[in-house]
Symmetry: C2
Subunit: 218 residues, 2 copies
């Protein structure tokens, strides 16, 4: 009987490993050639499995996309947590989190390419279980930022006339809009003589400026 339990455990671990191997392969292929341009057949070949086997580990292709997202979200969350744990002012933490975030985006260009391209549609399909998991992950990050802003308000480095939670939302949305900037917009920027790099810098200044505590006025 003990033996049975032990085997079950091992199988569980093996299953988890196999799952991760599949996600690894999916990342490799999706990142390099795009989610839509990789068939489940190809992916199966990459992990040396039959196509049908993939469906024993993931409900469908979207679930695979979703699994990649969650793994990256955890990775990023770890970075945010580190920043939040530092012993500096709220505003400093927030600044650092922004900096680390953009570094992370830079180090994961293909990932963000995939998310920006396919995310919007797939996220809108999420339901029940999956939506819930996703929402929980978003919440974790959001609450971290929320906490940082509250600290900032308490220590006087962040303006305190806005709900800190909403402020966290604003920041997330604005950051996201730069990261996922449409190529059309990029083209317009260039046509108007503004480099993307410059634009990002200015937008971040604008945002930073908008959340900092100001010398009192009316």
């Amino acid at each position: 009987m003990v033996k049975i339990m032990a085997t079950a455990d091992r199988k569980e671990r093996e299953k988890e490993q196999r799952k991760n191997a599949i996600i690894d392969a999916a990342e490799k292929l999706f990142f390099s050639r795009g989610f839509d341009n990789v068939s489940m057949e190809e992916l199966a070949k990459e992990v040396e499995l039959g196509k049908g086997t993939l469906y024993l580990y993931f409900k469908n292709k979207d679930a695979l996309f979703f699994a990649i997202i969650l793994r990256k979200m955890d990775e990023l969350h770890e970075i945010f947590r580190e920043c939040a744990d530092l012993k500096v002012s709220g505003r400093e933490k927030s600044k650092l989190m922004g900096k680390r975030y953009f570094e992370f985006v830079h180090e994961n260009k293909e990932y963000y390419q995939m998310v920006c391209t396919n995310g919007p549609k797939l996220f809108r399909k999420l339901e029940n279980e999956e939506l819930h998991t996703f929402v929980e992950h978003m919440k974790e990050d959001l609450l971290l930022h929320h906490g940082v802003f509250r600290e900032g308000m308490a220590d006087g480095t962040v303006r305190d006339d806005i709900d800190p939670l909403e402020l966290a939302f604003f920041m997330a949305l604005m950051s996201n809009s730069i990261v996922c900037l449409d190529p059309g917009w990029k083209t317009v920027l260039e046509a108007e003589g503004i480099s993307y790099h410059q634009f990002v810098k200015d937008f971040l200044l604008f945002i930073g400026n908008a959340i900092e505590k100001r010398p009192d006025a009316d």
Copy 2:
């Protein structure tokens, strides 16, 4: 000879009408059931044409999506132009444009639903001719806003320490990020006890506040 030319003209007009009829039908179906859930076969049936015929008028399904977008962009642009032509301060124009924009979004819910869901992927596929057309349309709007901000800076109703063109970009991006707010985010908002309506209101206040001229400080 004259007759030939006249016929050519008429044919040209008829072709244009047919094209518009197809776009009408496509809007109707795509808006109500989603871009992906409408097959070209169905669409053909709706306009009482053979499937192959559609491809005489539009290169592919994406081109149809794109045609819908352009038509709506023109509609919205007309509204913006009206606002820009009013005889009020720059800041007032900008405010009004924002108001009219959100009204427009409200009146075209299904359209924005479609754009937010399928736009990101399709816009990233655009190339050459199509990309150029799209960029030109975006530019038109952008320059209108740019002009309004410059007026605002000149008349002292808008802060003048930022490039007005970049400011126009910021506004466009931020507005867009609210309009296309991911359902996941909406769920998180709700879970945290913030209604979407309230959130939009606060974000707009935040933005407005960020572009208004401030009592001088360092």
